[in-house]
Symmetry: C2
């Protein structure tokens, strides 16, 4: 019972941090950056951080920890699989809109695309996320995929899930940092420079810190083996290959012992 209470308290923290992330990124761009438009102006760019933080961090993180919620531990996993895939698809769509926002803005203003390290890491993250979703869908939702293939791919799928979140956070922090250096220059529209830490800088820096905190809480939930969905077999089938991912409850002592004996 104590484990369940601890989980729900951590999950509540995760939800609160996620809501604060979305509220702060909207507030930053609405109150300090002039709001939103889809017309090639600076307001067009403002959709980029909003959609990336909402899609690639908050929605993605919540989709990743779905199976850790004890409410989802009923016999039939299929509805939760569909919800997991659906939330991640929504997260992917938001990310693509966020990418369109920045590409459109750059193209409308003759700014080069994909030159900064932020953009290199960001585009790799989105590419990995796309591959992960397609692989996840074809492995875990197509009925024709053999159980042995699902069991074989699951550890990689789970590990990649955590890594994509880490890369999303790397992209967000470098992007917010870059944007603040661009936007907060001395004598530009009367704003104070970033180095003077005006209210906008405090707001966006705090957003960055809360994104990191959200990511750490999600990674903690994913990594805590005691909060895993308990399953001794894989749905109707039985694991053919033992899991060896981040988060699995299966016992590896025997494998390790065998390994040592053989060497």
């Amino acid at each position: 019972m104590r484990g369940i209470v601890a989980f729900y308290l951590t999950y509540l923290l995760c939800l609160i941090l996620g809501i604060i992330c979305v509220a702060l990124v909207v507030h930053w761009n609405y109150s300090y950056r002039g709001g939103f438009a889809w017309d090639g102006s600076a307001k067009h760019f403002n959709w980029h951080p909003v959609f990336m933080v909402t899609g690639m961090v908050v929605l993605y993180g919540n989709a990743a920890i779905l199976y850790r919620i004890p409410l989802t531990w009923g016999h039939n996993k299929l509805p939760w699989k569909l919800l997991h895939a659906g939330l991640l698809l929504l997260s992917f769509i938001l990310s693509v809109i966020g990418l369109c926002a920045v590409f459109n803005y750059h193209n409308a203003n003759n700014i080069s695309n994909l030159y900064s390290l932020h953009s290199w890491v960001g585009i790799c993250t989105t590419a990995l996320f796309t591959a992960q979703w397609v692989m996840g869908f074809s492995t875990f939702l197509l009925p024709c995929t053999p159980m042995s293939a699902r069991a074989f791919i699951k550890p990689t799928h789970v590990w990649m899930g955590g890594i994509i979140l880490v890369l999303s956070i790397v992209s967000c922090i470098s992007g917010i940092n870059e944007k603040l250096f661009f936007a907060l220059k001395e004598n530009t529209n009367g704003t104070l420079p970033y180095s003077a830490l005006p209210p906008e800088a405090i707001t966006a820096n705090s957003l960055g810190v809360i994104i990191v905190a959200f990511g750490l809480v999600v990674l903690k939930i994913l990594s805590n083996q005691i909060w895993q969905r308990p399953e001794t077999g894989y749905e109707e089938g039985v694991y053919q290959v033992k899991d060896k991912g981040f988060y699995d409850v299966f016992d590896y002592s025997l494998i390790v012992c065998n390994l040592r004996t053989k060497t």
Copy 2:
């Protein structure tokens, strides 16, 4: 045997990526940023990325995976504990020198300290690393610490170890990105702007990508339960509390079952 070969191949990749990281960060600052000095000039700043990447990423990552090397799996763990703590202390000292470099440079040039999101995340990472080292030393190296306390703290120590590496990578990527926007401006010393991707931008962006790749390989080594140091008891003692960290081989099925029965 196959597990050992796979480990050593991954470890070799980790070593190669680490060496490339150090070589690239030195090359970038030596060949493109004018080299090194300790005189308050821009060359003084150049020590900052070199020491942070070498200390907080490469040396730290290698220290973190020390116990995964099968060579270290002998009966006596103490020499490896001392090496683990020693490498991390060296990593910490390099990081402090790296921080001194940037603070000295800022102070000598009347530039504010600790205002950017990069610096906020970076200073939190160093603070966490300090706390982790002190906690690790007092828990695992002081003979007076009870075995039960060691077993209780170990999962948190292991988890925090991975998280500090993630935060170091976040700090490095945002820092390299920031530095390139500062350094590569049109009409500054005849350099091409960052957006034109001159050779310096390609070099430093590649450094960022290789830092990320190095971090992912280290996290993969840490998370692969089959590569863990096998230990059924804690040194001379026996675990009093079951581990529930990222990387432990112990079986949690029973705990999960008990949890479900009790609720």
